[in-house]
């Protein structure tokens, strides 16, 4: 029994399993691509507009493009100061 456990343990704790998991995530991310090249500029322009009204940090705006099948979702996140 102990011997059996020993072999089982070796199988599941090997680093190959971790490698595969990391790869699946990496490759899925790579395949989505970094999004259109205008995203950084869009983020900058948004910051300028918002700053006309409130003083915000550079990281107050985050822009993200998600692809879900044929649908693309542009996600905007603006954090306003209290």
């Amino acid at each position: 029994m102990a011997l059996l456990d020993y072999f089982r343990q070796r199988k599941t704790t090997g680093s190959a399993a971790i490698a595969k998991e990391r790869l699946q995530i990496l490759v899925a991310h790579d395949r989505r691509g970094g999004g259109p090249s205008y995203l950084p500029q869009l983020k900058n322009d948004l910051l300028k507009v918002i700053r006309k009204y409130v003083a915000v940090d550079n990281d107050a705006v985050s822009v993200n493009l998600e692809r879900d099948g044929a649908q693309e979702i542009l996600e905007l996140n603006i954090v306003l100061p209290d």
């Binding site: 599941t12 704790t13 190959a16 490698a19 790869l23």
Partner: protein, 269 residues
Amino acid sequence: MARIIVVTSGKGGVGKTTTSAAFAMGLAERGFKTVVIDFDVGLRNLDLIMGCERRVVYDFVNVISGEANVGQAMIKDKRNPNLFILPASQTRDKEALSIDGVGRVLDELAKEFEFIVCDSPAGIEKGATMAMYFADDAIVVTNPEVSSVRDSDRMIGILSSKSRRAEQGLEGIREFLLVTRYSPERVQRGEMLALEDVQDILSLDLIGVIPDSPSVLNASNAGVPVILDRESSAGQAYSDMVSRYLGEDLPHRFLTVEKKGLFGRLFRG
């Protein structure tokens, strides 16, 4: 009409040059007139693996720039009359490769040869994209580890979009997966990605699995393509790969740990 095959990977040091040399020699041995071109301008080493480094006079860049013609630059292999090598330049940089220039040289070679094998440099810059652009077939060389598999996946994306075939609206490049430096022992211990894992992620036609083998270094030390080492597992695996490329349906070998016989166990412990 010649067929142009690019041997590519993205990541460096995974076995592209070893594969280009073995594959080209294998095709020549089956009777096909074959030329293998080193696209690694600035870091040439195909001539070393082929064992013809002392016979290099002109190179690929000399031909592109018109300083020599292909006939003067190509080196005829001493072991096989069907095989020629076109070395890269050691001194110029990759910018010396232009689409027009490379295209012209390949067109000229296509009149004389049945297969043109292009040994790509690592990376995704000029030399690599140039080697891919004209290809009809691609062999994506991959080691069973994270960064190599990831880079191969990126190359597959580039192959399908940036090629002459794609631009001319022809059927896309045929892409094949070649897993090299495979160690069944380490896979069994759970330390190395298994073949199925790599295939799961890359989902390309598998053209071969080359075991990690000391005979590869021996062959490169001697300047002999490893496919000529008929005793070695790596040499045999490359030979199988050539057969599969030419349409034979062979089972993959060297995928599992060899069981040590009673003798092995008694005397090697």
